[in-house]
């Protein structure tokens, strides 16, 4: 009921805004994004689910309907949320509303199409997090690509066409690989399952009912399927070495699209990794723990080093996303309560923080028309609020206590450190922690160069404080980040409740 309302409200909003005249599209989109936001907050308030939606937990707001039948496999309309997906849905609705506000200034062409696509994106994202049947989930998963392709391709920077195509091709190929991997599992389960539903397949897999598929034995099939899905999702996350689409997409995307791309779209990858790879095939995940953790740590360090080498503010934030998502993978592969829970918490925290930083860079760009660190200094005097927010966002990124980033990274490090399934967990954790130092390095450098010191601007523009509709989203995000940092249980309690069953596969935790 509620989930359908969320999706329908966003879709109707998208249609109305698409047909509205350009002049009113921005305001209309803002108002039309409020009903989904309120519904999702209400859902949070009355959430009564427990356990993991895939592992026989109590699914909240569940709807089930028969859709299609293909031989022995039913494809159903099945949606519902648990403590993992609800925080991400709330994150989506919050960020969509805020990014619409942040788009009022920079988007000055074809507004109705822009905001229509943003709301369509919202509907698809909610669907991704709520769907509990694979085919239904895949429909939403692919539907996300389409608005993002247009958002980058139409309103992006000078190399937008290249970036949009690269984004589209990369993620589509990845989807195909993942799709084949999952269907291999379904066919391998044979008569053990009667539908493509995620809960049914997950439970059958964990019960060890996977059979052979043609000449491929169950062990090999699980291994290959794990790899196929891992590769498919890793592109989305992204991790090194399949991250190269991300900086292109981010740098060319208009700021509000970057906010959603970093804030929510990247979480689709880690969310899917958790739901598919780490929930369905824990044995394979543990067998591959060392290579996966290595990839995670390389992403953390290499991403941070790449960010260090940039002089474009947006590129700095974009590469640092690669680094932050590495922490999520490290938390997942640790298979501890704090590791997996912290990884999920980091998805939300990073969504807010990276959204904040991208928005701040966008506001600075609106005024200065440059993103190069070297082109500006001393902005703090001219744009006090924006600069203050930038400092807050940077510190949140570095993991300043009492901010969301601190809580998330603390959980992940605690969890990774204690891991019993990851050989050499201590070494991996220690190296990953080093990433924080690099983050502090490049953020402090960028901040100090651009915000402080004597005022200087290479581009000839009069600076004025940012307008109210730019400041409101920034301040809201800072408040949310502090809220999650001081009271992580706002989300962490339900996250822990939902992630705990993932770890429960017979052996010791």
């Amino acid at each position: 009921m509620y989930i359908e309302a969320l999706i329908l409200l966003s879709l109707i909003g998208a249609g109305v805004v698409f047909l509205a005249p350009n002049r009113y599209a921005g305001k209309l989109a803002f108002w039309l994004s409020l009903p989904p936001l309120l519904v999702s907050l209400y859902m949070y308030a009355i959430f009564d689910g427990s356990g993991n939606a895939l592992l026989d937990g109590d699914i909240a707001f569940e709807t089930f309907g028969e859709w299609l039948t293909l031989g022995q496999y039913a494809i159903n309309y099945h949606v519902g949320v648990d403590g993992i997906s609800l925080p991400l849905i709330v994150l989506t609705t919050v960020l969509v509303t805020l990014s619409i506000l942040s788009a009022w200034t920079p988007i000055d062409d074809r507004q109705s199409q822009f905001y229509g696509l943003v709301l369509f994106l919202e509907a698809s994202l909610i669907g991704v997090f709520a769907a509990l049947d694979f085919i239904l989930w895949f429909v939403f998963w692919e539907a996300v690509l389409i608005p993002m392709y247009f958002l980058i391709g139409i309103w992006g920077g000078p190399r937008r066409k290249y970036a949009a195509i690269k984004f589209f091709v990369y993620t589509n190929l990845a989807s195909l690989v993942m799709f084949i991997g999952y269907l291999g599992l379904v066919f391998g389960l044979g008569d053990a399952v009667t539908s493509t539903g995620l809960p049914e397949v997950a439970q059958a897999l964990r019960a060890g009912q996977l059979g052979a598929l043609g000449p491929v034995g169950p062990e090999a099939l699980a291994f290959v399927a794990f790899l196929a899905m891992f590769v498919g999702f890793a592109v989305k996350v992204p991790v090194v070495p399949v991250h190269t689409w991300l900086p292109d997409a981010h740098v060319e995307a208009p700021t509000p699209a970057s906010v959603l791309l970093a804030g929510v779209l990247l979480k689709m990858g880690t969310y899917a990794l958790l739901r598919f790879n780490f929930t369905m095939l824990p044995e394979q995940a543990i067998a591959l723990a060392v290579p996966i953790a290595t990839i995670a740590v390389i992403s953390i360090i290499y991403g941070a080093l790449l960010a260090l080498a940039q002089s474009d503010l947006k590129r700095i934030v974009a590469y640092s996303s690669v680094s932050s998502m590495g922490y999520v993978i490290l938390g997942l592969v640790a298979y501890t309560v704090y590791g997996v829970g912290g990884a999920t918490f980091q998805m939300v925290a990073h969504g807010l923080i990276s959204g904040l930083l991208f928005m701040t860079v966008g506001v600075i760009y609106n005024e200065t028309h440059t993103r190069m660190v070297g082109d500006m200094s001393g902005l703090a005097d001219k744009m006090p609020v924006t600069s203050g927010v930038f400092v807050a966002g940077a510190f949140a990124y570095m993991g300043l206590p009492l901010m969301a980033g601190f809580a998330a990274e603390l959980f992940i490090f605690l969890g990774a450190f204690e891991s019993t399934v990851l050989p050499g967990a201590v070494v991996f954790t220690a190296v990953a922690m080093f990433g924080i130092v690099v983050v502090a390095g490049y953020l402090l450098w960028a901040m100090q160069r651009s915000l402080f010191g004597p005022f200087r601007l290479e581009t000839d523009y009069e600076l004025s404080p940012a307008p109210l509709h730019d400041v409101v989203p920034l301040v809201t995000l800072v408040l949310l980040i502090v809220l999650l940092g001081t009271a992580p249980d706002v989300f962490f309690e339900m996250i822990r409740d939902a992630t705990h069953p993932v770890l429960d596969f017979g052996g010791d935790l």
Partner: protein, 495 residues
């Protein structure tokens, strides 16, 4: 014949009656310039055919198949599904043609030819003997040649029609010769009787029967625009008026497939004829060649209409999986692949017709046909471009329309039938196709035009046809549930 049985012929009758009505209108007022009436009559007849066949299909009135006229015709689930496709496509084409041929002469003849071709196609769907197959195929083909040449002062149109006609005549003669060889070896033209004799014929006259079947396959390949008789398609679709291209590439192709499905599955059971020819292997080879050739050729085109023509060849390759995966693994899986072939043609009927009608709209605006001419169209015509985007992504198999599900059914069915390599090649082709379909999307939405596009009027009927096609394409994503059981049952009844 009982009353109920006449009811089963209502869909075909609706096409015939609408055609006769046009005759009457044209005799009363031969110089009529009132296209609205003609278009409305055609659309109404086609909609009636589609509605009745859809109703009969979903009510199960014709299960498990009713033979008429001593078994010459059969009305069953499959014939009703295809008549539904022909009715829908004809209705969309007739609606869209209203604006396209507004200033052209011979309107009544145009609609009449469309209806007569549709009649022929609906008979092809029901044909239960090789004689009826041939007659109805000619009834569908002859009006098509004339329709392609409808723009008779246009060199391209006439050249295309000539090429289409010559290859059509050649393939008809191949088909009729093949039929004669099948008759010679089995002693019957009725599909069921052929099936009964096929085993004996395959051991007594393996060469005669084998060559006969091969030639029948050739005739079918022409109608479906599959390798090796595909090369007329790009010219014919490009030269023909765009609504006619829509009609040929959607309805005519489906008509070819319904004949192929019925003749090969019913008359030539693979278990009996495998001693003389293994047509499953033949269609496996043809499917791979057709989809790969179609997709690679489409990827290199600069002209949108021609790209769509090659993509239509590619889709014929996907549907051929429906025959190529009948590897004898058993009823359940086989009825899924064969039913999936029907479902794909159903979805294709809407998305491909819509795409060609969009081309018709752009031709009507005299903007041009190349990708470059499409630059920046979305600024001027956002709604039509949204529809075209839906068609393109659905054709590519992205889950914005029914095209995703029907392709998924085909590939999953192929995996189930043990020909996973066929599914893999299909999936690979699908990825390639995204490249050229997204070029259209990119041209419309992302590129900037070199000089501003000016659009003076927005033709209502053509717009309506495009929007309806787009809405149905999207609705068929969740709504394929309405048809899938019917299609699988229809396939199971055939096998």
């Amino acid at each position: 014949m009982e009353l109920n049985n006449w009811l089963l012929l209502v869909p075909t009758g609706a096409f015939v009656l609408a055609a006769l009505a046009l005759f009457v209108i044209d005799s009363i007022d031969p110089d009529s310039t009132n296209g609205t009436l003609l278009s409305a009559v055609t659309t109404a007849g086609a909609v009636a055919a589609a509605m009745v066949s859809g109703g009969l299909l979903l009510s199960g009135a014709a299960d498990p198949g009713v033979e008429l006229f001593d078994g010459q015709l059969v009305v069953d689930g499959m014939s009703l599904i295809f008549t539904f496709i022909f009715g829908s496509v004809t209705a969309l084409v007739a609606l869209g043609s209203h604006d396209y041929i507004r200033e052209l002469p011979h309107k009544a003849e145009y609609y009449l030819l469309v209806l007569l071709a549709a009649t022929g196609m609906s008979l092809m769907a029901s044909a239960n003997s090789l004689a009826v197959v041939f007659v109805s195929l000619e009834l569908a083909s002859l009006p098509s040649y004339a329709l392609v040449a409808y723009l008779k002062t246009n060199r391209g149109s006439v050249e295309a029609a000539l090429k289409y006609f010559l290859i059509g005549a050649l393939s008809s003669s191949i088909l009729v010769y093949g039929i004669s060889l099948v008759y010679a070896s089995t002693g019957s033209l009725l599909l069921t009787d052929i099936a009964a004799e096929a085993g004996t014929a395959a051991s007594d006259y393996p060469g005669v029967l084998g060559i006969g079947i091969l030639m029948v396959a050739g005739g079918v390949a022409f109608k479906t625009a599959s390798v090796p008789f595909h090369f007329w398609a790009p010219e014919a679709y490009e030269g023909a008026p765009a609504p006619v291209s829509a009609f040929l590439s959607s309805a005519s192709k489906a008509a070819g497939f319904v004949v192929a499905f019925r003749v090969f599955v019913v008359a030539f059971p693979i278990g009996s004829v495998v001693a003389s020819i293994d047509w499953v292997l033949l269609f496996q080879v043809l499917a791979v060649l057709t989809m790969t050739l179609g997709n690679f050729a489409a990827a290199t085109q600069e002209n949108v209409k021609r790209m769509l023509a090659y993509s239509s060849i590619g889709h014929a390759g996907y549907v051929l999986i429906g025959l190529a995966a009948l590897t004898g693994v058993g009823g359940g899986t086989e009825s899924i692949v064969l039913g999936a072939g029907m479902l794909h043609l159903l979805v294709y009927g809407f998305m491909n017709t819509g795409a060609f009608l969009f081309v018709a709209l752009v031709e009507r605006w005299e903007i041009g046909r190349t990708f470059e001419d499409y630059y920046g169209l979305a600024r001027e015509a956002p709604i039509a471009c949204v529809a075209m985007t839906v068609f393109m992504f659905s054709l590519a198999g992205l889950p914005v329309g029914g095209g995703f599900l029907s392709k998924y059914y085909l590939f999953a069915g192929a995996v189930g039938a043990g020909v996973w390599w066929l599914a893999l090649i299909g999936a690979f082709n699908s990825v390639i196709s995204l490249f050229y379909y997204s070029r259209v999307v990119k041209a419309m939405w992302i590129e900037e035009p070199s000089e501003p596009i000016e659009i003076e009027r927005y033709p209502t009927a053509l717009y309506a046809a495009i929007v309806i096609a787009a809405v149905v394409t999207v609705v068929l994503l969740p709504g394929l549930a309405v048809f899938d059981t019917a299609a699988f049952d229809a396939a199971a009844a055939l096998l």
